[in-house]
């Protein structure tokens, strides 16, 4: 059957079961938009900025097990999308971005709206393609979806010149795909798994450190079973939150720069560390030499061999998918006669309980000023801990991570690797579309929200009843905190002056706005907002502008060199 490149593109999306495409039209994608118009299966969401299209596709992907899809035009369309693509890349999010390109005969001539999309995105995609012939579109898109979601997931860009989208070619969607140079290892080596099991059984002070790989692999059930069987404490990275239930007694909270005292002390002092789908990021293991100054054995499960022994040398490496490897590890452990060392574990837990006693997330509530931590705790209460929570970047992000106790995976949606301000609202749009009836909150700051505020218009158009929880401290708070700690209180350009009236702004976009200035109004305002099932509500909480995020392990310091709130 002969179809145009544009028809083929849309057919492929239908074949892949794509429900939503987030995009913005322009000259180079007009044929593709024309085909979108002629069908109803693939729904298009018109954002107000291409960065938001990519973040929305990203939020959609993070909150489901599916691949997010974005569609942008050539030139400025692609460059606007780059921040979104890099955000997805750093957090390993499966995504396909289709970009228009100038006609093939114009490529290289500095044509109108021409940029080298493949070149610009090369360092921040898992892979990318320039399609030069319509007959290659179907095969390329099939590969793109396969690459995006298999192995270590990531964004894949497919650049389609305008003439190619109008060129006719024979169409058939490939039933299977194989790429000879790409064969991710899913099953772990059984010999290594047995070594790991033995090491864990002999451990006196075992610790499980689980990251985003658990979420990406949809393996939180297996992980939870493993942690319970081992009787070990479990910590999650920022990206792993929800991978192990936060309300479980074996959960010691998040680790790293703003992790709990018990999680970081446990990391530092354990004798066997099991790292599961986590990549020893510099915000997690601040100072590698300090971390290595204490002996411990490390087992690392990761699907990407390049994540293993990158920053921290490990003793047992298991390349494979978390779900598969942990299931195999469970069967080895279950069939072993040896059981975890109960006496040693008892002592270990005694020590952990002592660290827990430091109560490192404690804060002093106030009846005068709204404490941001209190807002998040109340948000947790009002939403029964069961909302999808997206976040922007800054102090509010850390408080959301620390105080909203996530019991389920894919509920906490934030930009960890790139730390992209402006992520929260568009990501929430993707989440809300993926989960129509669900409660979706976007925790943000007055700085971050202004980086994609235009999306309030998209939310109106598609009736997305997101609840925006703005912790408005009138500061680029995280920057201000670093300036307070490390730059002699010189608050260079971190004060947010001339802020808009967010209530009126929300109203101007056709939404509801609520200003909250007193601690006693926090709960009521949240209740009111979440009771409005059909409205987007913008909650402008005027929070204590001097509040800092604790605990804090300053950059470059060791995990036990922590600043606690009470130290000051």
């Amino acid at each position: 059957m002969e179809l145009t490149g544009a028809e083929i593109t849309i057919r492929c999306l239908q074949e892949e079961g794509v429900e939503y495409v987030f995009g913005y039209p322009g000259g180079a994608v007009l044929f593709i938009y024309d085909e979108l118009f002629k069908q109803e299966q693939v729904k298009h969401v018109l954002v107000r900025h291409e960065q938001a299209a990519v973040h929305a596709a990203d939020g959609y992907a993070r909150s489901t097990e599916k691949v997010g899809v974005a569609l942008v035009t050539s030139g400025p369309g692609v460059t606007n999308a780059v921040t979104g693509i890099a955000t997805a890349y750093l957090d390993s999010i499966p995504m396909v971005v289709i970009s228009g390109q100038v006609p093939t005969s114009f490529i290289g001539e500095d044509a109108f709206q021409e940029v080298d999309a493949v070149g610009i995105t090369r360092p921040c995609v898992k892979h990318n393609f320039l399609v030069k012939d319509a007959k290659d579109i179907a095969g390329t898109l099939k590969k793109a979806f396969y690459l995006a979601k298999s192995g270590r997931p990531g964004p894949v860009l497919v650049d389609i010149p305008k003439d190619v989208s109008n060129q006719k070619a024979e169409y058939s969607y490939p039933a299977t795909v194989s790429i000879r140079s790409y064969n991710p290892q899913v099953q772990g080596d059984i010999g290594q798994i047995k070594r790991a099991a033995q090491m864990l059984l002999e451990a006196k002070r075992p610790m499980v450190y689980a990251g985003g790989g658990v979420i990406l692999s949809d393996a939180s059930k297996q992980l939870t079973e493993l942690v319970r069987l081992l009787g070990a404490p479990c910590t999650n990275t920022l990206m792993g939150l929800g991978g192990f239930p936060a309300s479980d007694n074996q959960f010691v909270g998040m680790l790293g720069m703003h992790g709990t005292y018990e999680a970081n002390m446990g990391m530092q002092n354990c004798d066997v560390l099991l790292a599961v789908g986590a990549r020893f990021d510099d915000r997690v293991i601040g100072n590698v030499a300090h971390f290595n100054s204490v002996p411990r054995k490390i087992i690392h499960i990761d699907i990407d061999p390049a994540s293993i022994s990158k920053r921290v040398k490990v003793d047992v490496s298991i390349v494979g998918d978390v779900g598969h490897v942990v299931s195999d590890l469970l069967s080895v452990l279950n069939s072993s006669k040896q059981k975890p060392d109960a006496t040693a574990l008892k002592d270990w837990w005694k020590q952990i309980t002592e660290w827990r006693g430091a109560n490192s997330l404690n804060y002093k509530n106030s009846s005068e000023l709204i404490k941001p931590q209190y807002v998040i705790e109340t948000l947790h209460k009002i939403t029964h801990g069961d909302a999808f929570v997206t976040s922007d970047v800054g102090q509010h992000q850390m408080w959301a991570a620390q105080y909203y106790k996530f019991n389920k995976p894919r509920r906490w949606i934030n930009s960890g690797g790139l730390g992209t301000m402006g992520f929260g609202l568009p990501a929430a749009m993707g989440v809300q579309l993926a989960h129509p009836g669900a409660t979706v909150a976007c925790v943000t700051g007055e700085g971050s929200i202004q980086m994609n505020i235009q999306e309030l218009s998209t939310c109106k158009q598609y009736n997305l009843p997101i609840k925006i929880v703005a912790l408005n401290n009138r500061y680029l708070g995280m920057v201000r905190q670093w300036q307070e700690f490390f730059h002699g209180n010189r608050y260079s350009h971190s004060y947010m002056d001339a802020l808009p009236d967010f209530v009126k702004l929300a109203e101007a976009y056709g939404h509801v706005g609520i200003l909250v200035e007193k601690p006693s109004d926090v709960e009521g305002a949240l209740k009111e907002a979440f009771a409005r099932k059909d409205d987007l509500v913008f909650l402008d909480f005027r929070t204590d502008s001097t509040e800092n995020v604790y605990p804090m392990v300053p950059g470059g310091k060791g995990l036990s060199e922590v600043i606690l709130a009470e130290d000051l």
């Binding site: 070149g119 090369r122 360092p123 892979h127 320039l130 140079s181 790409y182 390049a306």
Partner: protein
């Protein structure tokens, strides 16, 4: 330590820039890099000479393997291998220097491949080290131009890099 990494990659436009981009983005050294098609027209073979600590070399190998266009990677320096580089040198050759240059070329088992009344162009193959030594052995002021391919390498005996 110095390493010679050989790899097979898809003969796709852009594959070379993915490899080159990887090295610059991650701050790895490249001493030399060469690439040409193989007997299989769908694949090119690249040889990269790099240096770094064991950890860095391990990462380089892993990161190269991770590139979707890269089919297979081998660190030749992990085992027995042969290394060769081609150099062309144009030298000023007049008077007594003509005889001396010819003699040195013979000693290094090179060949004079182009002759004019004022110049010789000498072709020499060998390890990079040998080529360096040749350049040191001849009078520096006579060298007009040099061009080198960078090292190519192949495993000895049964060490074969193939799909």
């Amino acid at each position: 330590m110095r390493h010679i990494i050989s790899l097979l990659m898809e003969n796709e436009s852009g594959a070379l820039s993915r490899v080159a981009g990887l090295f610059s983005a991650r701050g790895y050294n490249i001493e030399s890099l060469n690439v040409a098609p193989t007997e299989d027209p769908t694949m090119s073979r690249m040889t990269i000479v790099t240096s770094g600590s064991d950890e860095v070399i391990e990462q380089i190998n892993k990161q190269l393997n991770k590139l979707v266009d890269v089919v297979t990677v081998m660190d030749l320096t992990d085992g027995d291998h042969i290394e060769r580089e081609l150099m062309l040198v144009k030298v000023r050759a007049i008077g007594d220097d003509r005889e001396e240059l010819k003699r040195m070329t013979d000693i290094f088992r090179g060949r004079v491949i182009d002759v004019t009344d004022k110049t010789y162009t000498i072709e020499l193959t060998g390890t990079g080290h040998k080529l360096d030594r040749f350049l040191q052995a001849i009078e520096h002021s006579l060298i007009l131009e040099t061009v080198r391919t960078g090292a190519s390498g192949i495993g000895r005996g049964d060490r074969i890099l193939k799909l």
